[in-house]
């Protein structure tokens, strides 16, 4: 893993961009990442990659005209890259027609430094070497081979730093790491799936995961066809997470609601009382940055309270329309997608998977879903 720029380096780059801006308001985002992924198929590594890069994004607005520019790469000569970026973005801005109602860039936030410093980071993950990734893959592949089945998947580690600064005084920088081990295992009749995610790669228990996914696969051998029909279904956390992520983005995006493309209505029952959902960037296990694409601190938002619609994800654009404050769920602006859910947490119940299964007379236990798509925004 490379020894890249420091927090001070990123803030200095951001500062140099702002210094070079000729006029108007500006927002600059500097991102540095080092990421590696070891991929496997048929119980062997077949692709093994790493990438390292720096990007600088500038949004410039003056006299109602907006220009946006990004440079990825160019780390070999930062001053030249900065000069090129500012010139190009200003050139775009001058040629753009006037837009009405532009929001000012975000101003400085008191107390953000402590929040940013506490973002989830692990030196072990940032320094993870290819041999370590390969060794974890070997655990999964070995377990599958001994069971007479085949493992496919990936072991990934990434370390990202991001600085965001504006001409209104915002200056934030945080860093985060993520380690993921995931595997699909296939036997003759069926397969299984498992994954583990952690800020600290040391917390990825490859042997435990391997045991789980191989056990699922072996349990799924000798499967018989099932007639189409209506069944009770128990979803494992993997399947529930996939469905929940789709559901959240479809329903709780304030832009979709504003444009009547969502079934959301505050107080409307959308699920059973057993289901409560929040998007909580402050949750202990949540990785990622404490600020959103505009530099606003991410706030917890209760989306479903015992099945009843209770809140929406906002960025500053939708917040202005709704006459509320942003709750820090913006992508980079401008965009057409609206606010996003980045830290979904389903409130736990009090039953184990086996207990849920024991309560089903005849039904299905689904480990994972495939190719989820919404066929209709309102009726899905």
């Amino acid at each position: 893993m490379s020894s890249g720029p420091t927090r001070d380096d990123l803030l200095a780059i951001a500062g140099s961009v702002l210094d070079a801006v000729p006029h108007g308001e500006a927002e600059v985002v500097v991102t540095e990442t080092d990421s590696a992924l070891t991929r496997f198929a048929h119980n062997a590594v077949h692709q093994n990659v790493a990438e390292s890069w720096l990007s600088i994004r500038l949004r410039l607005q003056h006299e109602g005209r907006v220009g946006v520019g990004t440079v990825r790469g160019g780390a070999a000569d930062i001053p030249a890259t900065v000069a090129r970026l500012v010139a190009s973005t200003e050139g775009s801005r001058r040629l753009a027609p006037v837009s009405e109602g532009l929001l000012p860039v975000v101003a400085g936030v008191d107390g953000s430094a402590a929040l940013d410093a506490a973002a989830a980071w692990s030196d072990a993950t940032a320094g993870c070497e290819p041999e370590e990734r390969a060794d974890r893959v070997a655990v999964v592949a070995g377990a599958a081979a001994r069971a007479g089945v085949e493992a496919y998947g990936a072991m990934q580690t990434s370390a990202t730093q991001r600085a965001i600064a504006t001409t209104a005084g915002l200056s934030r920088c945080a860093r985060t790491t993520m380690a993921t081990l995931r595997a699909t295992v296939r036997g003759g009749d069926g397969g299984g799936y498992a994954d583990r995610n952690a800020v600290d790669v040391s917390d990825i228990a490859a042997d435990e995961m391997a045991d789980e996914v191989v056990a699922t696969t072996l349990r799924n051998q000798g499967a018989e066809p099932l007639a189409p029909g209506t069944y009770e279904v128990v979803l494992t956390p993997y399947a529930a997470a996939e469905l929940t992520a789709w559901f959240a983005q479809l329903v709780f995006n304030a832009l979709s609601v504003e444009e009547h493309r969502s079934c959301y209505a505050e107080g409307r029952r959308l699920a059973s009382e057993a289901f409560s959902l929040v998007d909580d960037p402050t949750e202990a296990a949540a990785a990622g940055f404490p600020f959103d694409g505009e530099g606003v601190t991410g706030q917890p938002v209760t989306l479903l309270d015992r099945g009843v619609a209770a809140g929406l994800l906002h960025d500053r654009v939708t917040a202005r329309s709704a006459r509320v404050e942003s709750n820090g769920h913006s992508l980079q602006q401008p965009n057409t997608r609206g606010p996003f859910a980045g830290h979904l947490v389903v409130a736990p119940g009090d039953a184990a998977v086996d207990e849920l299964v024991a309560g089903v007379g005849r039904g299905l236990l689904l480990t994972r879903l495939w190719y989820i798509r919404a066929v209709h925004e309102l009726h899905t």
Binding site: H42, N43, N48, V49, W53, G74, R93, A134, T184, E259
Partner: protein
């Protein structure tokens, strides 16, 4: 670029790589977007870097870096070699590569009007006019339009001696209009689904689209769909417009003929394929009306280039020949795995920061001899569907369900009523086996798909599809 490529190759081979290749790229992108009468901004991106792929002890390693200086490039090469050695710790069958001629050459996308020579103001002015035309339809609540121009200059160099420079230019545009009521949302888009159509061509491609001329009609259709009858349910004759046929080809032919999927490389993510090697030459994929080719030489195709990202020349490969499954999209490694003597030249990386994977080039359904109007006129009862709305297909590319934006019920050879929320489902070979007519060359259109996902870490590829309208019998159709 050349010096850096040579330094990377020297560092990699010097550290023990038996094979190495390098891609150095500089990409410029300009996007102009308008939403509900507001310009969202003129967005210019520049992206440059180098990706180094090596074979050491029969295993792959890859490292990419966004710093184009000698020290960083050499460090990346050494990192790639170390990664390859780590691969060998959990190694399988050693990698062998099908041979490829050593080439020194260059290629540039032919364009009439440089899309970067058209000012952002002119692009924004076009989009504002398109937006204004949609805005003339009162019940339309969301209007999106955009243009995109891409120019990538890339150098490929291999330890075998190939040196290839290419400049690939893409231009795209499109719009969509959404109308809503209390219990309905309907979106119509033009010229393709999800708001953009893109080609390897210049600005002339946008001028040919006649966006402004179609905007009010498309917006009106979105409103009409709010109160249209639901698409009826039943097994019936289905006619698809060219854009939906293109997507059908993409999902049910392009993907299952990617040989790396067949061999299991994507089993953990994008899936596998039902088109196993034992079926080549003897499996009826479709009817005799169905001939599908992979053609990286197709003029203006989004999957058109001079050489792929392994230095294999662009070529045309028969995937389905008059209904018979005939071939694959392949790489040097996958071709060798199957005992083929050469790659079909389908290795493409989404950027310098990613390894090349087997991807579609231009996957084209050859034109037939009929026409859309003739197919409708000779259909006693059926449904005509236009423009994709949703898509879902299983991980082997066998069972699928697609939704479309606009439908028409056909009775006695006539379109009798507009229908909404049309969905159709099927099984790939049965569906293509039911194709009994396809429109001719006059109605054959080339479409660009800009959101094809594959690989870990994920890559988004730009691929092309040429298709005419076509008719299929005994298809399950319903509504959402």
């Amino acid at each position: 670029m050349r010096d850096l490529a040579e330094r990377a190759l020297d560092a990699a081979t010097g550290a023990g790589a038996a094979y190495a290749d390098v891609r150095v790229a500089e990409r410029a992108t300009e996007v102009v977007e308008v939403r509900n009468g507001q310009l969202l901004g003129v967005d210019r991106d520049e992206d440059e870097g180098i990706g180094i792929r090596v074979l050491v002890d029969g295993a792959w390693g890859f490292a990419a870096v966004g710093a184009l200086d000698g020290r960083s490039v050499e460090a990346a090469a050494l990192r790639a070699v170390r990664i390859a050695r780590a691969s060998a710790r959990v190694g399988g069958t050693p990698v062998h590569l099908a041979p490829v001629p050593v080439v020194v050459g260059s290629y540039t996308t032919p364009v009439a009007v440089d899309p970067f020579g058209v000012s952002p103001a002119a692009k924004a002015d076009l989009l504002m006019r398109v937006d204004a035309a949609m805005a003339r339809v009162p019940a339309v609540t969301v209007r999106n339009s955009s243009t995109e121009a891409v120019r990538e200059h890339r150098l490929f160099a291999s330890s075998e001696g190939s040196r290839i420079e290419q400049t690939i230019i893409e231009t795209g545009s499109g719009f969509d209009a959404t109308a809503t009521s209390d219990d309905e949302v309907q979106t119509r888009s033009f010229p393709n689904s999800f708001g953009r159509h893109q080609l390897c061509a210049g600005w002339e491609a946008v001028e040919e689209m006649d966006l402004e001329g179609n905007a009010e009609r498309i917006a009106s259709e979105a409103v009409q769909l709010l109160t249209a009858d639901r698409c009826p349910t039943g097994v019936t004759t289905l006619i698809l417009d060219a854009s939906q046929v293109a997507l059908q080809v993409h999902e049910s032919c392009g993907h299952p003929t990617e040989l790396d999927r067949v061999l299991g490389s994507e089993a953990a993510y994008a899936g596998t394929s039902f088109l196993t090697p034992d079926l080549v030459g003897n499996f009826m994929y479709g009817s005799g009306e169905v001939t599908i080719v992979a053609d990286a030489t197709c003029p203006r195709g989004l999957g058109t280039f001079g050489w792929d990202d392994e230095g294999v020349p662009a070529q045309r490969t028969l995937l389905v020949d008059r209904g018979v499954f005939s071939g694959y999209l392949s790489s040097r490694e996958s071709a060798s795995s199957l005992g083929l003597s050469f790659s079909s030249g389908a290795m493409r990386a989404s950027s310098w920061a990613r390894i090349p994977l087997v991807r579609m080039t231009n996957i084209n359904l050859e034109p037939g001899t009929s026409s859309l109007e003739e197919m409708i006129a000779t259909t006693e009862a059926g449904i005509y569907l236009e423009t994709n709305r949703s898509w879902s297909i299983d991980d082997r590319r066998l069972n699928f369900q697609f939704g479309c934006q606009l439908g028409w019920e056909i009775r006695d050879g006539q379109r009798v009523r507009m229908v909404r929320n049309g969905l159709y489902s099927g099984t790939t070979p049965r569906f293509w086996g039911s194709c009994d007519a396809a429109a001719g060359p006059d109605e054959w259109r080339l479409f660009g798909v800009v959101n094809c996902g594959k690989g870990e870490p994920g890559q988004i590829a730009h691929v092309g599809h040429g298709a005419p309208p076509a008719r299929f019998r005994n298809v399950m159709v319903t509504s959402s």
